[in-house]
């Protein structure tokens, strides 16, 4: 600290080079060509959308979910055959693969002809079991928009065009194999999509409505309202679900159709499943009702109903959406599990869980593994898609967090 005088001191004033006054913080766009100003006029949903589309995994999951629901909407047209059409000649037939060219045995030239190969049957004389093998010599031409067995689209329009099928309806085409009665697994998986993807929705919607309303009341009013709703939630969450299902399944009249039985059971269980959503909504209301903007709304003269539904609830919609998206896969898994155990849906209803019932014993799995693989793959795919979509929505849900 002695020779301070020998060195030049730093310039006391450091002014910007250009010297002119700045009026705003310096920013540059993340990617060239973007205008950060646009964000200023963006609304809530625009911000959420922007953030959601930044998440590639969630977008991919969303596309899969949409595809699954499209499949569910047009099952009759998409399925190559009726899910109940049994082919006694082709039980446990293995999947056929699609080929596009046939080779002319004489000239050796290849010709464009989409086709599947036929089956040859062998009978094991000791066990009298029939086994099918693919016969490369039998060519079954297939095509798009072929005429097949007739059906009613959505139960309304009489049609017989199908997206894909054998040109000759009497020939077999089983792209994913067949089950013990020789029914086409691909058609059954497609029909199962409709039931599995939709049956949980009713339950989700019921629990959504109950959960949101009771949670909102509980969180907004507090006091004895909160106390009684919370005690109700505790009692309800103490009821074990699976024994309840078992009991209900036994108690419901045997004359009801299986689908109706399942529908009723789902409804009853969803009356008990709203508790977690109600707690979540209550917590959000608790924190939001102390916010200044809620006080401001009250001072503006808004009624309490208006404060709840117009001012507070919109802040939660995106969160609720995410919760619902995450609740659907739980319902799908529940349906699969219960049907597998035989207390959910029962044949002749076709759902992924019912399809898996066929793969319950090891012998079947050993001889016809496709019965296990394809339905469970659909369950896994849909559940993962919903979970990724829900996560993406939840992350995007609050655009104002920073």
């Amino acid at each position: 600290m002695t020779d301070a005088t020998q060195r030049p001191a730093p310039d006391p004033f450091i002014l910007p080079e250009d010297g002119h006054e700045e009026t705003a913080p310096a920013i540059s766009p993340l990617r060239p060509g973007e205008d950060p100003e646009n964000i200023a006029v963006a609304g809530q949903w625009q911000l959420i959308r922007k953030r959601f589309f930044g998440n590639k995994v969630a977008v991919a999951a969303g596309v899969i979910v949409i595809l699954l629901y499209l499949i569910a909407a047009f099952v009759e047209f998409l399925a190559p055959a009726s899910p109940t059409a049994a082919q006694p000649r082709f039980t446990y037939a293995p999947p056929q693969s699609v080929a596009f060219f046939v080779e002319d045995p004489e000239t050796g030239t290849r010709r464009w002809l989409p086709h599947v190969k036929g089956y040859t049957m062998e009978v094991d004389l000791e066990s009298l079991r029939r086994t099918f093998t693919i016969d490369d010599d039998q060519v079954i031409p297939i095509g798009f928009f072929v005429e097949g067995s007739s059906y009613r689209l959505w139960g309304l329009f009489e049609m017989n065009r199908r997206l894909i099928g054998p040109l000759d309806p009497s020939k077999p085409m089983n792209l994913l194999g067949t089950d013990s009665l020789g029914r086409d697994l691909l058609s059954r998986v497609i029909y199962g999509t409709r039931v599995s993807m939709s049956i949980g929705l009713i339950g989700v919607v019921t629990s959504l409505v109950i959960g949101t309303i009771l949670g909102a009341l509980s969180g907004y009013y507090g006091g004895w309202v909160d106390l009684s709703i919370q005690r109700l939630i505790e009692v309800i969450s103490a009821i074990p679900t699976i024994p309840l299902w078992l009991g209900l399944a036994a108690a419901i009249p045997i004359t009801w159709s299986p689908l109706r039985v399942y529908f009723i059971i789902t409804l009853i269980v969803s009356l008990l499943a709203w508790t977690s959503l109600a707690r979540e909504v209550r917590g959000r209301f608790f924190s939001l009702k102390g916010e200044d903007f809620v006080t401001a709304a009250l001072l503006d003269g808004s009624s309490q109903r208006r404060v709840i539904f117009r001012h507070i609830l919109p802040s939660l919609t995106s969160h609720i959406l995410a919760v619902v998206t995450l609740a659907i896969p739980t319902m799908i898994v529940a349906e699969t599990a219960l049907s597998f155990l035989g207390i959910g849906l029962k044949p002749p209803v076709v759902s992924w869980g019912v399809l898996l019932q066929d793969a319950q014993n090891i012998r079947t799995v050993a001889t016809a593994p496709w019965l296990l693989v394809w339905p469970s793959l659909m369950v896994v795919l849909s559940v993962l898609a919903f979970n990724f979509l829900g996560d993406g929505l939840r992350d995007a849900a609050d655009p104002y967090e920073n």
């Binding site: 060195r7 004033f13 080079e17 913080p25 310096a26 920013i27 993340l30 006080t295």
Partner: protein, 576 residues
């Protein structure tokens, strides 16, 4: 991006031997979701041994992140993009910018060579461990000591920061300390290893003025006795004048002006520094407007207003654990601006909320005259319907402009809501009125379709004011309406309110902790302390010649924005 073309002008001027810490051309970018923010651009400064450099700037100027960058503790979206940080110590200069963020070297410097005091002592101290244990840990991390020695050192540190009974207090938890004591403990922790440099990031912003004065006294004393170098980050020019030797003014990530403190206050060179100083000084002087008459019938008068928080015992007898507001009488005459001043916990906000019956008074009555000459009506006895008409006439402006606007509603919906709910307006009528109101508060009509997040703090506060004005009110209760704003914006908002008062004939109840704002804005001032009114008088009288000792202590603790007239160090101290 101008900063890239900016040459490293001062790298050639090598560090002086008495320069402890030297920063050259520091640049920091934030990678946000929508854009890249150049939060700090080519910032260069030197910390000289034993001197205090104040880094001054408004919110968003990059001053805090600069300080954090020195210790390499900036948050993830931020990235240092260039520049050097050199710490000169006994074993030669060290380049802090070249160290890894989690490495051993930088950890030895954090707390060891450079101490840091944060703004919010509550969140910077662990709530689950005793104060003593936290200081002991800091001591043992950097100095080779046994547990016993560290404990003794901790007690001696707590004594140095003037905490009474340090032996006992070391075993207490954070929540048992008051805000001022927490900040003292924080300072003790920062000093634990005899740092050469102390960085104080808004050390007193969360504290009351009297506590602020005590803490700043303490920091100054410790700095002199230990020969520490200090970098103080603040937005308060008054504090700068009281404490600093040198100042660097930051704006939008750049240092726009740098030099000795006297030069900044008496010969500012840049327009921005002049404007900043101007808005600070403007609030120092009164406004000299003729006070409205305080005779005749008051618009609003509260008598014996009391609010207690506590519980009913099982015998049905109520005992108040805290009496937040204790038997307060106030009057508000037409056209008057009544200031309510007090430190935190004085009950001023509760009083304001009781005036609007957001909080129900425990005792007392509030009389309100809908028109001059009309019979007074008791607000505390109103039912829901009449309370609605009262709340149309008496409106509230909130403190936090970010929390008070619903982020999911457009500005039109926010301002139009009272018009729709209470005014019964619809469609085009709302559009027209909202447009008028926006122009009235100095915003463009096009703001209508935008969402609140598109606006700055000052603009949001204008929107909040427009909402309060929507129903042609008589009285506006402004609860700390300017305390969340930067000083230049604060002056603008106050001028807007004064202008609106003139045009619309409003009366204001202005609740604030900031004496200078009250002096600028109010005609009469009520000083509150521990729920009671200590003194009532004209603003000029309260701010220049207060008669009560508490008011004197309060007024004299306010830092004066003039380095040649340091007020804080000669302040009146209230004996405890």
């Amino acid at each position: 991006m101008q900063h890239q073309s900016h040459p490293p002008a001062s790298t050639t001027t090598t560090t002086d031997t008495d320069t402890v810490l030297s920063v050259r051309n520091l640049s920091i970018d934030y990678h946000l979701r929508t854009h890249i923010l150049h939060a700090v651009r080519d910032v260069s400064f030197d910390l000289k041994a034993g001197h205090t450099l104040a880094l001054v700037g408004e919110s968003g100027s990059g001053k805090s992140v600069t300080a954090r960058a020195l210790l390499r503790i900036i948050d993830t979206p931020a990235r240092v993009t260039g520049g050097t940080i050199t710490l000169t110590g006994p074993d030669g200069p060290q380049r802090l910018d070249q160290m890894t963020e989690t490495g051993k070297e930088i950890r030895a410097i954090r707390g060891g060579r450079i101490g840091l005091i944060f703004q919010e002592p509550m969140s910077s101290l662990s709530p689950v461990r005793t104060i003593g244990a936290q200081i002991v840990e800091s001591v043992r991390l950097h100095r080779k000591m046994t547990k016993q020695e560290a404990k003794a050192e901790t007690v001696s540190l707590l004594r140095q920061v003037e905490i009474d009974n340090p032996e006992q207090m070391a075993d207490r938890y954070t929540f048992e300390f008051s805000g001022g004591m927490r900040q003292r403990a924080m300072i003790a922790m920062a000093l634990a290893c005899n740092p050469d440099v102390l960085i104080a990031d808004e050390p007193t912003t969360a504290l009351d003025v009297t506590t602020q004065a005590e803490i700043m006294d303490l920091i100054k004393r410790l700095q002199v006795s230990r020969g520490m170098t200090m970098l103080m980050i603040t937005h308060d020019l008054g504090l700068v004048a009281e404490i600093a030797d040198d100042v660097a003014v930051m704006r939008f990530g750049r240092i726009v002006e740098q030099g000795p403190v006297d030069a900044l206050f008496h010969a500012p060179r840049t327009a921005y520094a002049r404007a900043l100083l101007g808005s600070t000084l403007r609030l120092e002087a009164g406004q000299n407007r003729p006070a409205p008459p305080t005779q005749g019938e008051p618009l609003l008068s509260a008598r014996g207003l009391t609010k207690g928080f506590g519980a009913k015992s099982w015998t049905g007898k109520t005992t108040w654990a805290i009496t937040a507001v204790d038997n307060v009488n106030i009057d508000l005459w037409p056209g008057e601006n009544l200031g309510i001043v007090g430190e935190s916990g004085s009950g001023k906000t509760t009083l304001g909320k009781m005036l609007l019956r957001i909080v129900e008074p425990t005792a007392g009555r509030i009389d309100w005259r809908p028109q001059p000459g009309a019979a007074p009506r008791d607000v505390t006895a109103m039912d829901r319907r009449t309370l609605r008409t009262y709340r149309q006439a008496v409106r509230l402006v909130f403190q936090d402009p970010f929390a008070s606007l619903n982020p999911r509603m457009t500005v039109k919906q926010v301002i139009g809501d009272p018009l729709y709910v209470a005014g019964g307006m619809n469609g085009a009528a709302i559009d027209r009125r909202v447009g008028e109101l926006l122009e009235l508060v100095g915003l463009d009509r096009s703001a209508m379709e935008r969402y609140p997040h598109a606006f700055s703090g000052g603009q949001r506060q204008r929107i909040g004011i427009a909402r309060a004005l929507a129903l042609n009110p008589q009285i506006i209760v402004a609860d700390e309406a300017t305390s969340a704003l930067d000083v230049s914006i604060r002056a603008q908002i106050l001028d807007l309110l004064l202008d609106l008062q003139k045009r619309l004939g409003l009366s204001f109840v202005f609740i604030a902790h900031d004496i200078s704002v009250v002096r600028y804005f109010c005609d009469r001032v009520v000083v509150m302390h521990k729920g009671r009114i200590v003194e009532t008088g004209t603003a000029e009288h309260i701010c220049t010649t207060p008669s009560e000792p508490y008011t004197q202590a309060l007024i004299s603790a306010v830092p004066s924005p003039d380095p040649r007239n340091k007020r804080m160090s000669q302040r009146t101290r209230l004996s405890r």
